[in-house]
Symmetry: C2
Subunit: 584 residues, 2 copies
C-alpha cells in the first residue's frame, strides 16, 4: 500500500506518476470505507482525487495555501495531510469533520461550509501575503456550482484588477453542482469545454483574469503539467479543469444529483443501509403541498437558490412544476430579490432553502422585500437545533437574525395542521412578507385555525394558573410535556401558549397573564440572544412577572449531541419543573 | 416652457426630438433648482436626463416597468411622471424622496436605496409577468458602479439562462461610480467603449445575454433608436450606453467624485452654502487615525467596499495609504471575506463603510469571519438614529443585526478618547472579530482606559443608588443628562454605566447592582428588539430588578424629525425622570 507511507504532502512528492495513480485508487478505497459506513459528500470527493494529489505534488502546503470552496471536496486533502485515520480506521471517523478545519490541521485555514466563499477568502490570504512581503502561492479551489454565488463573482472581479500578484483559482468543472446547474455562465463553461478553452466571450478573461484550460481533470500527469505552469505566476489566473463527478463508482457517475451526498450505503447495490421508514415527515407534507398548490393556483411559483431537495422537490417533482419553478443556482440574494419582483407584479412566490443559507440574503430581505412589503413567503428547512449539527450549517440563528427585521412576519408552526394552514394563508395574502420555519421534530397533529391575519395573536392551548409556558414552534411539544409534568409534580395546571408568531408580541394576552400568573417560561428552538423570549422579558421588565427564557446559547456549537445539549440547557420537562418550583 | 405641459409620460410622446432636447435643458434647470437648495445626488441625475426622456418616449410606463438601481438617478423619471413640483416649487421639495418610491407614484415599483438590486428585482417583475401571461416590457437601469455587487451579477447570470423572454438591462456607463471604479470588469467596459461594443470577451455575452452598445448616451435621437430596437424583444438583452456623469455643469463633469452627491451649493462657484464649520468630528478623528496607523504599522490595511468617504478618506488620503488600501468596488461580501483572509494570513485589516451596508455581508461576518475567529476590525459610520433618515439608509438596525452573532465583539464608544483606544486595541489584538460603531453625536471628551481585552466588562462612570442607567455608545451622553436630571429632580444620585460592549453582559456587575438598586434603565441608539437592552431584561427576568429598555421601535422610519422621534419614545432627560419616579 502506497497510502501506508503517506503521512504528509512531502511523501506525495516522492512518488512517480504511476505510484500516484495507484495512490488515487487506494484513496478511493479509503473514501468508500468512510462513506459506506457514515455517509458524507460523495460526488465532489470522488471527482477531485487526482487533482488533489497533483496539487500537493506541485505546491508546498502549508506554506503554499489551499482554500477549498464549501470544502466538501477536501477529503483527499485531509487524507494527504495527516488525517487518513479518519478514513481508514473506523474507530477514528469522528476525528475528521466533513469540511476543512484549522482545528484539525495546519494545512487548513478556514472552517468552510457555505458556498462561493473560497475566492474571496483566498484573495485575502494573497493580499495579506503581499502586505507582509512574502511570496507563497495562494490557491482557491471552486466548483462550477459555486460560481453563481455573488460572493464568488465579487471576488473574481476584485482579483481581476486589485491584486496584480500570485493568485490561482482552480475551477473544478464537473458539469454539475447539486441539482442541475442553472445560470448563463454554465453555457459559457460548456462552450469553453467544447472548444478546449478557446471559446469567445470567456467569462473569466472578461473579469481581467488570465485563463488556462485543462480537459483531462482526472489525469494526474496532465494536472501536474498545468499546475506547474501556473505555479509562482505573478498575476491572477484561472485554471479551468474538467473533472468527472463521482469518478470511480458507476452509480455515482451516472446519477450525479443523487450521489452528491450520501447516507451510509451498500457498495454493491448503492442502497442506503439506514432505514428512515416511509412514514409521514414535514418534508413529504411540504412537497405534496407544493405540488397540489401549483396545480390549483397558476399564479403560484417556487423559487429556490439550488436547494429544491430542502423541501423534497426531486427531479420528478420539478418536472411536474414546470414553469412554476425557478432555480436561480446558488444565489440566495437574487432568489429573494426575484421573489420580491414576482410578488410585486402580482404572482405568488414561495422561496425554499435551508435556514442557514437564508442569512446570505439578509440585506435583500430587509431592503428588497420588507421595506417594500412584498408579500413573498420564505420557507426554511433545517431550522432546528437537532437538524444539521456542523458549525457551518446550524439553523439555530434564524430567529435571532430575522425576527428583528421590521414588517417581516415570522411563523413557527407547532403541528402539521397549523403548518399547512400557515402556508395556505401566507401564499395567498397580499400584505406581508412571511418567513415560515419548518418544524424539526416528528410530525405532530392538532386542530388548527386560519387566524393568521390577526398578526401576533398567540393561541392559548390550555388556560391554567400561576405559570404560563410560551412554547414556540417545534418546541411546543416540549412545552406540553413541561405543562403535564408541572401538573403531575406540583399539583396545579399551568397555562400553555402556542405563540405561532415569533416576530411580535401579543400584548393583550401577555397583559392578561399578569392576573393569576407570576411566572412566564419561554421556550424556543434557537439562541436566546436576540430571539423570541427576550422580547417577552423586556415587555414584562417593569411588572412583577418573573420571566425565564429557555433556548440555546449564543455560540457556534459544532457536532454536538442534541439531547445532551438540551439537558445541559435545562430544556427538559424535569428541569423545567425544578425551575418553576423555585418561583411558586 | 415645454416642461409646463409635461404631466405624464404620454406628454413626452407628443414631442419632437428638438422639443425633447429643449426639455432636457429645462429639466436640468429644475434639477439645479432643487439641488442648489437642498442637495442630493448630482452626477447620476445630470448624466441620465436624455436617457430617461428617451425611455419614456419609447416605452409605456407604468404598463412597461422601469426599475432604477440605487434609484439615485431617477429624478428625471420623477419629473416626467407627475412629480415635477418637487423640483420646481421650493415649497414642495419634501413631497419627493431622493429615491424611487411607490408611495409617490404608480410609475415606481420599489423603494430602492442600496445598490445592485435592480436587475434581480426587475427580473422578478419579468418572471411574474410571464407567470401571469402578460407581455409588458421590463427595464432595469443599472450604473456601472453597481455592477460589481454580487446581487447584480447573480441576477445577470440567472437572466442569461432562466427567463427566455422580454427583459432589458440598461447599463448606464458613466465611467465612475462614487469614487473611482474598482474591479476587472471596468477594463472590460472600457474595452467595449473603445471598440464600439466589439471587444473580445464581452462580459455580458459571457452571461448568455444579448448585447447592444450605444456610444452616444446623451443623444436623445440615438437613444430612441436603440431603445426601439430592443423594445418587445423576446430574450434578455443588455443595452450598454455611454453617458457623461454630471453633464451640463462643468464643475461636475470635471470632478465626478466630488459631485456624485452634493450639499446645497452656489451655482456660480460650486461652493456649499451650508457651513458645517471646520471643528472636530468623528470623521476627521478617524481619517487622521487611519493615516497615522498606516504610517506606523506596515501590516495595517484599510479595506472598503467603495465607501472611503465614510471615514473621510478622500483622493489625497487614499494616495497616502498606497498599498495599505484596497477598494473592492461595491462588494460588501467580498470586502468582509477578503479582510478575513488578510487577518488569517497575519496582517491587520480595517473594513470601513456605512452601517446600513454592512448587513449585505451578514453571512460573511458569521461564516467567513466569526466561525473562524478572524481578528478583523469593522468600523461603521452613520450608525445613529439622526444620521441618514431615508428608510433605505437607516443605521438603527445594526445592533440588532450584529450583537447576536457569536464571537463578534461589538464596541460602542462614548467619547473620542475611548473611540481611539478601541481602535488601537482592536486592530492590534489577534483573538476577536470586532465591530466598532462610530458615534453619531458631537465629539465628547472623557478619559478612557485600554481594558477592552476584558471582554464584556462594563465601566461604572458614577456609582450611585436606587437606579442604574446603562447608556450605550453615543447615547451615553443622554444617560449623563438623565442622571443629572434625576439627581436634581428626585434628590438622589443614580448609578451611571458605560457598557462599551454591546454584544455581551457584564454579569458580575449586573448581579452587584441587585443590592442598592431596584431599577435599571437601558439606553441604546438603535431598535430595542434584538438589541442590547433586551439582553439585560432577560438577565434580570427572575430577579426583583425592574428594567426599562429605551431605544427605537422595530420599524422602517422614513425621513423623520430625529428630535421629535426621541420625544415620542421618551428618550429625553425629563421623560426618563418621569418614568423613574413611578418606580422609586
Amino acid at each position: 500500500m502506497i497510502l501506508d507511507k503517506i503521512n504528509a504532502p512531502a511523501d506525495v512528492k516522492k512518488l512517480s506518476v504511476n505510484d500516484m495513480k495507484s495512490l488515487a485508487e487506494e484513496i478511493r478505497e479509503a473514501l468508500f470505507n468512510r462513506l459506506t459506513k457514515i455517509g458524507g459528500h460523495f460526488g465532489p470527493n470522488f471527482g477531485f482525487v487526482e487533482a488533489t494529489i497533483a496539487l500537493h505534488y506541485v505546491f508546498d502546503s502549508p506554506t503554499d495555501k489551499f482554500v477549498f470552496d464549501v470544502s466538501h471536496q477536501s477529503y483527499t486533502h485531509k487524507i494527504l495531510t495527516g488525517r487518513k485515520a479518519g478514513y481508514i480506521d473506523d474507530s477514528r471517523f469522528s476525528e475528521d469533520s466533513g469540511y476543512s478545519n484549522p482545528g484539525e490541521s495546519q494545512h487548513d485555514f478556514f472552517n468552510i461550509g457555505h458556498t462561493s466563499t473560497s475566492v474571496a477568502l483566498a484573495l485575502g490570504l494573497a493580499k495579506g501575503r503581499d502586505i507582509l512581503g512574502r511570496s507563497e502561492n495562494i490557491v482557491a479551489v471552486i466548483g462550477d456550482g459555486s460560481l453563481s454565488g455573488g460572493e464568488a463573482m465579487e471576488a473574481l472581479n476584485v482579483a481581476g484588477s486589485e491584486l496584480g500578484s500570485n493568485f490561482i483559482v482552480i475551477v473544478n468543472d464537473n458539469e454539475q453542482a447539486i441539482a442541475e446547474n442553472h445560470g448563463g455562465i454554465y453555457q459559457n463553461l460548456k462552450d469553453l469545454r467544447e472548444s478546449n478553452g478557446q471559446a469567445q466571450n470567456n467569462w473569466f478573461r472578461a473579469f481581467g483574469l488570465d485563463y488556462v484550460y485543462e480537459e483531462n481533470g482526472n489525469d494526474i500527469a496532465a494536472l501536474i503539467n498545468v499546475f506547474e505552469k501556473v505555479k509562482d505566476s505573478k498575476h491572477p489566473v484561472v485554471v479551468h479543469i474538467h473533472t468527472q463527478k463521482g469518478k470511480g463508482y458507476r452509480l455515482a457517475e451516472e446519477n450525479r444529483e443523487a450521489w452528491h451526498w450520501c447516507l451510509p450505503f451498500d457498495r454493491a447495490t448503492g442502497k442506503p443501509t439506514l432505514d428512515f421508514g416511509s412514514g409521514e415527515s414535514y418534508t413529504s407534507i411540504t412537497s405534496r403541498y407544493i405540488l397540489d398548490k401549483a396545480r390549483n393556483d397558476k399564479d403560484f411559483i417556487v423559487v429556490t437558490p439550488a436547494m429544491p431537495m430542502s423541501v423534497g422537490l426531486g427531479i420528478e417533482e420539478r418536472a411536474q412544476l414546470g414553469r412554476q419553478y425557478i432555480d436561480t443556482g446558488i444565489a440566495e440574494e437574487a432568489a429573494v430579490a426575484i421573489a420580491s419582483g414576482i410578488a410585486t407584479n402580482g404572482a405568488k412566490p414561495l422561496v425554499v432553502t435551508n435556514m442557514t443559507f437564508l442569512q446570505r440574503a439578509y440585506d435583500q430581505i430587509s431592503q428588497d422585500v420588507c421595506i417594500n412589503k412584498a408579500p413573498i413567503t420564505m420557507l426554511m428547512n433545517y431550522t432546528a437545533f437537532d437538524g444539521l449539527t456542523d458549525v457551518t450549517h446550524l439553523g439555530i440563528f434564524g430567529l435571532a437574525a430575522f425576527t428583528n427585521i421590521p414588517d417581516l412576519v415570522v411563523l413557527c408552526p407547532s403541528s402539521a395542521e397549523e403548518y399547512v394552514n400557515m402556508l395556505d394563508w401566507s401564499i395567498d395574502q397580499r400584505e406581508y412578507p412571511v418567513l415560515i420555519l419548518i418544524p424539526g421534530n416528528a410530525v405532530a397533529h392538532r386542530a388548527a385555525d386560519m387566524s393568521f391575519g390577526n398578526i401576533n395573536q398567540y393561541k392559548v392551548e390550555q388556560l391554567g394558573e400561576k405559570v404560563a409556558i410560551v412554547a414556540l414552534g417545534d418546541f411546543f411539544q416540549k412545552g406540553e410535556e413541561a405543562a403535564a409534568a408541572i401538573e403531575k409534580e406540583l399539583g396545579f395546571k399551568p397555562t400553555l401558549i402556542n405563540p405561532r408568531f415569533a416576530s411580535g408580541l401579543d400584548k393583550e394576552l401577555l397583559n392578561s397573564l399578569k392576573s393569576g400568573h407570576s411566572l412566564v417560561v419561554t421556550l424556543e428552538d434557537g439562541i436566546v440572544d436576540g430571539g423570541f423570549g427576550e422580547k417577552i422579558a423586556s415587555f414584562y421588565g417593569t411588572s412583577d412577572m418573573k420571566v425565564v427564557n429557555l433556548g440555546l446559547e449564543k455560540k457556534f456549537y459544532d457536532r454536538y449531541n442534541p439531547q445532551q445539549l438540551l439537558e445541559s440547557l435545562g430544556i427538559t420537562a424535569d428541569k423545567i419543573v425544578e425551575r418553576v418550583k423555585r418561583f411558586i
